[in-house]
Amino acid sequence: MQELGRAEHTSVRVTPKGKDQVVIEKDLSSEEMILNMGPQHPSTHGVLRLECKTDGEVVIEAEPYLGYLHRCFEKHAEMVDYPGIVPFVDRMDYLASMNSDFAFCIAVEKLLDIEIPRRIEFIRVIVSEFNRIASHLVAIGTYAIDLGAFTPFLFCFRDREHMLSLLEWTSGARMLYNYILIGGVAYDFPEGFKERALEFVGYFRPKALELQKLLTENEIFVKRTKGVGIMPADVAVNYGWSGPMLRGSGVRWDLRRMDGYSIYPELDFKVCVPDGRFSDIGDSLSRHLVRAMEIEESLNIIEQCLDRMPEEEGFDPKAAIPKRIRPKAGEVYGRAENPRGELGFYIQSDGKSTKPLRCKARSSCFVNLSAMKELSRGQLIPDLVSIIGSIDIVLGEVDR
């Protein structure tokens, strides 16, 4: 490399359009500043801490520091018996407890090798799809706040509240349900659930459209997100991205389709990927669009499930729950599609105790966030915020 001289400072910045912009500042010694973002910062979505090396507004490198919400899930999983783990799973990804429980129960049921009644499967899919919409709404709302739009956030929370009340009606809790149990669910749907759920779907469709008009079609929003934080598909796979993040990079990969667990193979839904007309594939906008489209698909799934769900008089949702959950010795890796990606559980059982020997949660946010360092390189501070928002982290799941 050519010697530039002491007083000359060169910085190269990749502009959103991909053209390299070389700035030569003469006779100006520009120092790097360490900017500490978080753990208490409005846009780190909880207690993430980013240590940014900045040169003016340009972030040279942002190093994430985790563990501010490390609640020792894996230790607890080794200390309590299988049904007792479910509440801890709830508290891991607190925005999508149903989906997390679902993933955990899939893993344990695979190990136990038990058959689940068909109605239970429908109930599980319906509640977890409701929770997926709720979770995506929070993701979209907080993303809007990150970009300075306050109203969409409140619209999202307003509509989320309806879903919470539906789920509360079913399970008795607003956020952390402990509803999906190993081998069953805690309660059957209450009387009239179907009507109210359908009513909600009818109410929510136009509201989702309104949200889209307010936020996604806003030119400033598009300007702030398009071309920001582009992640090519192969790198995304190498980083282990999954869920909306990976689909945002254009990979048509959804565990609901690929693994085909539960009753998803019978259902008709699209795996949403951006088509590249509105966004650059792999940028923040694509990830946002995937979430917006998935809300639509989840509504379709709910409608189909409500339609096809077998009605049974005097149905006991706890009938299939084993009396004593003590799996035979073995190992399992079970996973399901969480709103944030693949949530997997690696469980090791020794066959003797009712507690797992080892239970590791493969958290989707943890993996998605690991690309932060690479994504943030050479971005502006506002873009950094935009990227963190589009990753949609839940610190409870990152740190476990």
Binding site: H41, P42, A144, L147, T151, L154, I220, K223, L380, V385
Partner: protein
């Protein structure tokens, strides 16, 4: 006509009670009382209520009837708070910053005509003075941000200075367009020139086919000058915690807060004076219905200018609660590559119109 209007204020200013110039005090005090009332309660309260209305909420409800005492409670509380000055802060700058901001924002009110009779000082360079004094805020912001010795505050201050200084240019050129139409810099003269029996048709916005362009440019630039969304990057909550006032507590913070609302009204008032006739009634005389005459007068004048100011503040709030925030470079792009060239174009076109067509 002018004479009759001024006669009213002259008569008032000569009103002496017990040898005291009560009339003069009233003339000077009414705008100030208005400022205090407006800035202290209705600006902040209105913003909270309007945002609540847009977001399906209620807004302040419990403090006083419909929460109208909310802002008063806020100010009283901020007065009681501990006043923290950082150990490592530059104490002089830290203290002087909010002062400059507040004084800068409210000094401009001196030349603001609140009606045919109410004006603090009818300077012959009133408009120039107003723009200049509003721009003084930059110094206060920089002092506040630098003095805080906080990285977020520094970022906020630097962003803010870059933004305000840049947006001065299109704003000033847009105002110059208005000045060319009027041929004066006196605020009161602007109003008098836009008077007439056809109401709004006499406003400069409708007097010239190109006038909407500087009007729009000034409105956008004024958003940036007062750090309102979508240009609120200096205090971007999600990026910079609270921008240049991150470190301020108690009353200093309240002062900054109020200064913001003061300058919001100021730019709205300038906009309405230059392009929308200030205190003139927009209603025209239609045959026997002489609406314009009925709605003209000292009290009506104050009413109209306040209403026009409120309208623009409402639009500012509306935008704030609808739009996301621009990025720093996009903001500069908008200023230098869009607004400034268009402002020049408008300037030339209006000059041509004024000289050759009119």
């Amino acid at each position: 006509m002018n004479a009759s209007l001024n006669a009213w204020s002259d008569a008032l200013s000569e009103l002496h009670l017990l040898g005291l110039p009560v009339g003069l005090v009233v003339i000077a005090a009414v705008p100030l009382v208005f400022i205090a009332l407006y800035a202290l309660t209705y600006g902040v309260y209105g913003e909270r209520k309007i945002s609540a209305f847009m977001q399906d909420r209620l807004g302040p409800m419990e403090v006083g009837k419909w929460g109208i005492l909310q802002t008063l409670a806020d100010i009283l509380k901020l007065l009681q708070k501990e006043d923290i000055v950082n150990k490592s802060a530059d104490k002089f700058l830290f203290v002087i910053g909010p002062g400059i901001l507040f004084v800068g924002a409210f000094l401009a009110f001196a030349v603001l005509p609140f009606g045919p009779a109410f004006i603090g000082a009818d300077l012959n360079v009133g408009l120039f003075y107003a723009i200049g004094i509003v721009a003084l805020e930059v110094v206060g912001i920089l002092a506040a941000g630098w003095g805080s010795n906080n990285k977020w505050a520094l970022y906020g201050a630097i962003r803010s200075v870059a933004q305000i200084v840049s947006y001065e240019i299109p704003a000033a050129i847009a105002i110059l367009c208005g000045t060319m139409m009027a041929g004066t810099l006196s605020m009161q003269q602007f109003n008098l020139l836009q008077q007439g029996e056809y109401g709004f048709l006499h406003f400069f916005l409708f007097q010239n086919p190109i006038a909407w362009l500087p009007f729009l440019i000034y409105f956008i630039a004024s958003l940036a000058e007062t750090n309102r969304a979508p240009f609120d990057i200096p205090e971007a909550e999600s990026e910079l915690v609270a921008g240049y006032f991150t470190e301020y507590t108690g009353m200093k913070f309240a002062v900054i807060f109020l200064a913001e609302y003061g300058s919001m009204f100021m730019v709205s008032a300038i906009l309405s004076i230059v392009f929308l006739g200030g205190w003139n009634s927009p209603l025209p005389n239609i045959g026997p219905l002489s609406l314009n005459d009925w709605t003209t007068g000292p009290v009506w004048g104050a009413f109209w200018i306040v209403m026009k100011g409120f309208f623009f503040i409402f639009v500012q709030m509306w935008l704030r609660w609808t739009l996301p925030r621009l990025r720093v470079d996009q903001l500069m792009h908008l200023c230098w590559k869009v607004l400034t060239p268009f402002a020049f174009v408008a300037f030339v076109l209006i000059a041509v119109w004024e000289i050759y067509v009119k």
